[in-house]
Amino acid sequence: MIAKEMDFLKMSARQLNAKRLRVALTVLGIAVGVAAVIGIFALSDGIRYQAIETIKAQADLTLIEIHPRTSDGITQLITDTKVDALRETPHVTAVAPAFMDSYSTKKQTFLQIVAVRGGEIDKVLNLKYTSGRAFEPNASEVVFGAELKDRLQHNEGIRVGDVFTALVREYDANGMPTDRQVPLTLTGALGDRDDKFDRYVLIDMTTASRIRNEQKGYDTVFVRVDDPDNVFPVVDEISAQGLAAQGAFEQIRAVNQFMDAILIVFMIFGLFALFVGALMITTTMITSVYERTREIGITMAIGASEADVIRLVLYECLLIGIIGGIVGIILGFLFTVVLNTVGKPFIIARMGVEISSIFGNEIAKLSPGMVAAGMAIAMVFSIGAGLYPAIKATRLNPVEAIRGMT
């Protein structure tokens, strides 16, 4: 059976060999389509990969911030049960629940308060102190982020070790605001983290509750995941619990969504090119069937069935598709090489070194999957394009075909 198919394939190859120039042009048509599709995928994958790698390198990807979520008018609060569930979630290495508050200094500098438990937040954020130490539990002590420390030291002369007065705004029964003065000791300052903790004040949760004279619920939970690749499963788990997750991973999601949108637009052009290639195959094969009307008639007269004739025509198309696919993949590969070689200096010249650094060494990235997909697309389009001429060939009346009347 396989030997017979191989014989048919060889027969088709000989037919193609007899009209080399026309076949070459048709092959080029399908090859350009495949190259366009592969090039588009390679470019978008390359940009996507580099952008994600940059985010991974620059952002704290394994830190997830969880918030209550409101949907259909119901708010899912963060409870201790949920926090415990988070601790048990696979790939989660540390969990720190927190609530937010806001004080101000005497000179009206806004202080964003993050009330946490010392040991927990240290595990999640891996805190590093440039001066001083962490706050003690239940003590009126705070720690400043790097940027806040510099600002308050410069503007208000508050230094590590100083006791300063924080104003805690409260509202009386008539809704009138009053500011209560609370003395706090700045026990330490964090190193530069390049995130929002640079501007935060960290305080012990018990102390913060005492200052407000109430036990507040959790506003947020900071979660540390073991590996960037495990972030999305953990996020899915959090979402399943009805909570909202935020973090640098959202940038990856945004990049993916953006690249998907661009890809769809580009793919329309790529598929258009492929469609033109397929039309060329159809035209070539219709012409070929017309030219070989007599030959097809003879073939049927000497015993070929309709299925045999369809096979002969479709194998020719398949061969065009395979050759077109291979040439297209080579063209696509050359495209990526040119882009990676010439594209980099071009981007540096147009946009500067900073932007070009996003692209690393590879602007376009060709994967084995793309090569396989390119080949499959070429073959499917080619067979599809050959169906009409193949069926047309079987409709020939052998008697008229042999006489050359059709």
Partner: protein, 221 residues
């Protein structure tokens, strides 16, 4: 002797209303060498095409080697062309891109015959028609007579017991025509293959065992 071909009240009317054949009843025995003669338009080719399963009758029946041909069954017609009937055409009708050996072997491609077997049978038949030396030549590299010899070999390759030849010497000079007739006659005698040869050359009809003459779609008594 059994009948290779038998037709009963065979008629063919074309869609335009022209009657090509009318109540044709003939019997041809196995191993006969028959000339089918008649003027242009007398229905010779139509009768050949119907016997060979390339065309279907509007009425009547055809039996090949004792079996009635079912013209509504495509498989039956394909089997008829693959295994029972071989064609030889006036225009030779070889496949231009195939050499002589491949042309002879071509029908076997559709018959699940292995390549080795195909090549072996093609080589034997090319030897039979005296063209072993030309096995690798393409049709355009051969003379008309040689091409027709290849076509005869091709008609025989499926072990067909009947060969239908439609004006096989119509495009050949008289010397070559005689050679082709002698070849067909020797195949007929040595292998007991039934030949039905459409011709309007009455001289060549003298090679035949019997002549069937058609006129206006009817057998001339």
């Amino acid at each position: 002797m059994s009948h290779a071909i038998q037709t009963q009240l065979l008629s063919k009317q074309f869609a335009n209303g022209v009657t090509a054949l009318s109540d044709i009843s003939i019997s041809i025995r196995q191993g006969e060498f028959i000339a089918l003669v008649g003027r242009s338009g007398s229905g010779k080719s139509t009768l050949m095409n119907i016997i060979g399963g390339l065309d279907s009758p509007t009425a009547g029946s055809v039996s090949i080697n004792g079996d009635t041909v079912n013209y509504r069954d495509r498989k039956n017609l394909i089997d008829l062309r693959r295994s029972h009937v071989g064609f030889v055409f006036q225009q030779f009708n070889l496949i231009p891109s195939l050499n002589a050996r491949e042309n002879v072997a071509y029908p076997l491609l559709f018959n699940y015959v292995t390549r080795e077997e195909r090549n072996l049978r093609a080589a034997r038949l090319l030897a039979l028609v005296g063209l072993s030396e030309r096995a690798d030549h393409l049709p355009h590299q051969m003379s008309g007579g040689e091409q027709q010899r290849v076509a005869i070999a091709r008609a025989m390759v499926g072990n067909s017991s009947i060969i239908l030849a439609d004006e096989p010497t119509g495009n050949l000079d008289s010397k070559t025509s005689t050679e082709i007739y002698e070849l067909m006659r020797s195949v007929n005698k040595e292998r007991n293959v039934t030949f039905v040869i459409v011709t309007h050359e009455r001289d060549l009809a003298s090679y035949c065992d019997r002549t069937i003459e058609l006129s206006d779609g009817k057998v001339v008594p």
